[in-house]
């Protein structure tokens, strides 16, 4: 069971701000949040802010243009540099990356 946040249609920078707020409000014991967005800049800002809170991100294209970002609590997220490198690879594969 994962928590789900739909920020489609939102204006900049609310997708990121709402994702951060939702991460901070995750019930105890919950460690995953799925965010659905159609705001491309959020693909870099959400994983970046989530990494600061100890989450790593997986991005999946689910529409055109819509993406699902899965944020998981992870020890690895403490190594923000590695998280960012991984995220960049994902974005590059999706063709939305800014290498």
């Amino acid at each position: 069971m994962s928590n789900f946040l739909d920020v489609r249609g939102e204006i900049c920078p609310y997708p990121m701000m709402q994702a951060v707020a939702a991460l901070k409000k995750l019930p105890a014991g919950e460690s995953t949040l799925e965010v659905l967005t159609d705001h491309a800049p959020a693909l870099s800002t959400i994983p970046w802010e989530a990494a600061k809170l100890g989450y790593e991100a997986d991005i999946e294209e689910v529409g055109s243009p819509e993406w699902k970002i899965t944020l998981r609590k992870s020890e690895a997220a403490r190594d923000a540099k590695a998280v960012m490198a991984r995220m960049q690879d994902q974005l590059a594969k999706l063709g939305v990356g800014q290498e």
């Binding site: 204006i11 609310y14 540099k81 063709g95 939305v96 800014q98 290498e99």
Partner: protein, 411 residues
């Protein structure tokens, strides 16, 4: 909630139809170019400049509002650093252009088209208002225009606010001109230290800002580490062509490439006629619209002595600035469609429309007052080697800080 709702087909439209749509959009933009060229070369050149402008903004997601905002919101300055670099490139080009127009800058003459305006209270107030407005609205004026091209409906509310703000500014301009604009000094660096000196000062300030931001970011790992050269040993020529095509038209550009390209585009625009600027023309749209309701602005005091995005009362549709502004929206639309990023996006919360319009109103009034927006009074002003670009930029920074405090309180 479960993730069940997410598992649906990748796209509703068959691939063949989607690529047909892409080519149709490109063909339409080019057909418009041919038609416009039949009317006048100036219109066509600025239509092409506008298309390129919008294309660059959309591809690189270069956003002046987030450049200022994210320094506070995320303590992140990659966007602003790219813009500083773009202005550095433009400064060099602008200096050559201005040197041709005014060989001896110390003689008291100003290059007529350079975005040099008086430095006074009006500029600071305009910058503060603009800075708050762009953060509240989620995009500056050029950002609003390229987002319209991408299908963001709230940006239409922003544009409405911008137009109203510009018209209000046009109605109060003559008062501002009497109390501040007309009595404030013009400080054009080359007039006291020559072009080389002005370039050196500008370069030093840009570098100081660049490293100041690097310092501000430090303690946090870099968001985007430069990528190693791609392993592309055994690529055939057609692979490479395909890769280049994808890199330009499908994938996002690095912000730095976008900002440098915009700096070069600005040099081109200035070489042809005048530096980039969008709000002067928008104010003319606003005034033509409000004239229909019998609410036309009075003649703009001092308009002939000011360059850049001066408020315009009346005016005609068929100008290069019209095709430039329309081109920004069109170029962003073309870029978004090519990259499959166009989508009509309706915010579900009603307050977003109010918020966008209110932010737009602040930006419109601020841009009217300060003779330009983040483009005309900042991105084109610092390379014009006037002090006004720096003062406006600092005011934007403070305004953006206020804007961040406001949006953090709007859920």
């Amino acid at each position: 909630m479960s993730s069940q709702a997410l598992s649906r087909p990748l796209a509703g439209t068959p691939v063949g139809l989607r690529s047909l749509r892409k080519w149709a959009v490109v063909a339409l933009a080019l057909a418009a170019l041919v038609v416009i060229a039949g009317i006048s070369t100036d219109l066509a050149v600025f239509w092409a400049v506008g298309l390129t402008f919008g294309f660059i903004l959309q591809r690189s997601r270069l956003c002046f509002a987030s450049a200022f905002r994210d320094l506070f919101l995320m303590r992140e300055g990659r966007n602003m650093k790219a813009i500083l670099a773009g202005m550095g490139v433009a400064s060099l080009g602008f200096a050559f252009i201005m040197q041709k127009a005014v060989p001896d800058p110390t003689a008291g003459a100003l290059p007529t088209q350079a975005h040099v305006t008086p430095v006074g209270v009006y500029l600071v107030l305009g910058g503060l208002l603009f800075g708050v407005g762009m953060v509240v609205a989620g995009g500056c004026v050029s950002g609003t225009m390229y987002r319209i091209g991408e299908g963001y409906v709230a940006s239409l509310a922003s544009l409405g606010g911008i137009l109203l703000g510009l018209e209000l500014a046009a109605h109060s301009w003559n008062w501002w001109y009497a109390v501040s604009v007309g009595i404030s000094p013009i400080i054009w660096l080359p007039s006291s230290v020559g072009y080389a000196g002005a370039l050196a000062i500008t370069a030093a300030l840009l570098l100081a800002a660049y490293f100041g931001i690097t310092w501000w970011e430090s303690g946090r790992p870099p968001l985007f580490t430069p990528k190693k050269a791609a392993e592309q040993a055994a690529l055939t020529f057609s692979d490479k062509v395909a890769q280049t095509w994808r890199g330009i038209f499908v994938k996002g550009w690095p912000m730095m490439s976008g900002a440098l390209a915009l700096g070069v585009l600005n040099i081109f625009a200035f070489t042809y006629q005048h530096p980039l600027g969008v709000t002067g023309e928008l104010s003319s749209w606003a005034d033509r619209g409000s004239s229909l309701f019998g609410w036309a602005a009075p003649p703009i005091a001092g308009a002939s002595q000011l360059a850049g995005c001066v408020l315009t009362a009346g005016g005609s549709w068929l100008t290069g600035n019209f095709t430039l502004d329309a081109g920004v929206i069109g170029g962003a639309f073309v870029a978004a469609v090519l990259a499959s990023e166009f989508k009509v996006r309706w915010p579900r919360q009603r307050r977003r429309y109010v918020q966008s319009a209110a932010g737009g109103l602040g930006m419109g009034y601020g841009a009217g007052l300060a003779v330009g927006c983040t483009i005309g009074a900042f991105f084109s002003a610092i390379p014009s080697l006037g002090l006004n670009g720096w003062i406006f930029g600092l005011s934007l920074l403070i305004g953006a800080f206020g804007g961040v405090k406001i949006i953090q309180r709007i859920p």
